[in-house]
């Protein structure tokens, strides 16, 4: 006790002038993270003349014209619609097939289960660059090129394994006795799964959905390769604008800001599961 008092007194004496180092470290780190994003936001609210002719830390004459351009021009806003369509399709497909599979992996042993689980993982880790060309040819040959479903199916390559892994992690936390009791009570497998089991892992389904949505939203290489006009994602439309000789920086920045919005909106709900999702359900 005496030791504790001695060791604490000098600390207390120093507390007043000393700043909280953790807070400073976090502050600096967050500043580092947010500065580039702020710069994009800043540019999106400026006119092109202001961007190119003067260097200002915040927009001097604030304008929403860049956003207006995007939201009124179908060539621009259809990009968002296209992206959203295939992302949602992908999320639905991924979850629909991953739910039963994850249940099987979490509850049963069957022939080849470990190999299958590993094989799924390798697909999550497969470089999209390897698949770009074969996908292009596969979907062209079955007549799905430049459709939303083609991109949605292509993204299943890494999202289905991800969903299976995340869901399996959550399902293992549900005691098996619940399944057995339900079967004794006369539930069929389907009824049990939908009425009892799915509500129990609702948060897991939400997290898996979020990560499927996210990884499909951020991916560009495959979605760009598989589309030309009708299903072109917003991300690819942005790249095209960059290639033009005169770059409309303001509109480009505004388009960028708008792609950050969907993630930023929902992240609050999954904040406690973020680590779990990125680690494929294994934290």
């Amino acid at each position: 006790m005496a030791d504790a008092t001695i060791s604490q007194t000098p600390t207390r004496a120093r507390t007043l002038p000393r700043v909280n180092t953790s807070a400073v470290v976090m502050g600096l780190y967050l500043l580092f993270l947010l500065l580039p994003i702020y710069w994009l936001l800043n540019m999106s609210l400026k006119t092109n003349t202001e961007i190119l002719n003067s260097f200002t830390l915040f927009p001097r004459d604030l304008t929403l014209d860049n956003y207006r351009t995007i939201l009124t021009d179908p060539a621009w806003y259809m990009g968002y619609v296209n992206s959203l369509i295939y992302v949602v399709m992908n999320t639905v497909i991924s979850l629909a097939v991953a739910l039963p599979a994850a249940y099987a992996f979490s509850r049963y042993h069957f022939m080849g289960d470990k190999h299958l689980f590993f094989w799924l993982l390798t697909n999550r880790m497969a470089p999209p660059a390897v698949f770009a060309l074969p996908f292009f040819q596969l979907y062209s040959s079955v007549g799905l090129f430049d459709t939303h479903i083609a991109v949605a199916l292509a993204h299943c390559l890494f999202n289905v394994p991800l969903a299976v892994w995340i869901l399996e992690g959550f399902m293992r936390g549900v005691p098996k006795e619940i399944d057995e009791t339900a079967y004794i009570d006369g539930y069929s497998f389907g009824a049990f799964f939908v009425k009892i089991f799915m509500p129990l892992i609702a948060s897991g389904i939400g997290v898996a959905a979020f990560f499927c949505f996210m990884f499909s939203w951020v991916e560009l290489l495959l979605s760009r390769t598989l589309t030309t006009v009708d299903a072109k994602p917003i991300a690819a439309i942005m790249t095209r604008t960059q290639g033009a000789s005169g770059i409309d920086w303001g509109v480009l920045a505004a388009a960028g800001v708008l792609t950050i919005v969907p993630g930023a909106l929902v992240i609050w709900f999954v904040r406690n599961y973020i680590a779990k999702g990125f680690a494929l359900g294994r934290v």
Binding site: P36, F118, P127, P128, M238, L252, V283
Partner: protein, 289 residues
């Protein structure tokens, strides 16, 4: 959990199997096909055996790309892992501020990859970017489209910006699983801050940290979009990483045979690392961490 043996469980996995087979096995077989065939155009193919593989293995180009790729992965791991752990140690332990930090830190992770590239492309420009302008004003010669060092610095800093939070989030999750009793015991023993880190926090974090390292290694190994948007692989070929080179070869020059052989070797490397990853993960599962 003790699992029961049930072969009928195969029916539950079947949809996944069919879907992933469609989107993985068929394309992969196409690649294998190309890698052992040659063409004179007109869709006429003939057997080439292992020629493409031999050619690629002798080709300077692939080795150079591999070298740059390994260097890139090594650099970003050397920065992101210690930095991520350091950030995790400094995060608020709970309450509103912890959530606040979690949300802001996750923000870069949710930005589409080419937008990440665009953000840094703009940020680093000398005429309109904050970073480029500031460095220029300080008298530092910085131009990521011409200067090799500047190009590398930009893509490395960009990756650190993009992914350090992932390491930090995982390390934080590991830290939070340490019971308070451990810290109290350390306090009774009057352990120094360093010793608490070395003997309590680090061993407890090791599991998730392994996952973080493997994930970062793997994802950095197949990085494409971000550096491509910023530097386009240049100046010259200075930042042409494996994926960039592969896409150039396959979709740009349509050299199907060599590109396919390249893909297969690329994929085998990934397979090997995936296996290490899987072993680490399943061992952790067994330990119940």
């Amino acid at each position: 959990m003790n699992k029961t043996v049930n072969q009928k469980a195969w029916f539950l996995v079947l949809p996944v199997l069919v879907l992933v087979a469609f989107s993985a096995v068929i394309p992969l077989m196409t690649v294998v096909n190309y890698s052992v065939q040659d063409t004179f155009g007109n869709n006429q193919f003939f057997w080439a055996g292992l020629e493409w593989f031999e050619e690629m293995l002798r080709d300077e180009r692939m080795w150079n790309a591999l070298q740059r790729q390994l260097m890139f992965s090594a650099i970003i791991l050397a920065i992101e892992v210690p930095l991520g752990v350091f950030i995790a140690l400094n995060m608020p332990k709970g309450g509103f501020w912890a959530s606040f930090c979690l949300v802001l830190m996750s923000l870069p992770l949710l930005i589409p990859w080419n937008v990440v590239g665009t953000i840094w492309q703009i940020f680093g420009r000398v005429d309109i970017g904050l970073l480029g302008h500031t460095l220029d004003a300080l008298g530092i010669d910085y131009n990521y489209t011409q200067n090799i060092f500047a190009a590398w610095a930009t893509i490395v800093v960009m990756d650190v910006w993009h992914w350090t939070s992932l390491v930090a989030l995982l390390a934080y999750a590991g830290l939070k699983s340490i019971p308070d009793a451990y810290y109290q015991a350390a306090k009774i023993d009057q352990a120094s801050r360093w010793k608490v880190f070395r003997y309590i926090e680090l061993p407890k974090m090791m599991g998730v940290l392994m996952i973080a390292i493997l994930l970062r290694f793997m994802d950095s190994f197949m990085i494409y979009t971000e550096p491509f948007v910023v530097t386009g692989g240049g100046p010259g070929n200075a930042t042409t990483l494996l994926s960039i080179d592969l896409v150039k070869m396959a979709l740009g020059q349509f050299d199907l045979g060599p590109a396919a052989a390249f893909s297969i070797m690329y994929f085998l490397v990934i397979l090997l690392i995936s296996w290490v990853f899987y072993t680490v993960m399943t061992n952790l599962d067994k330990k119940g961490m």
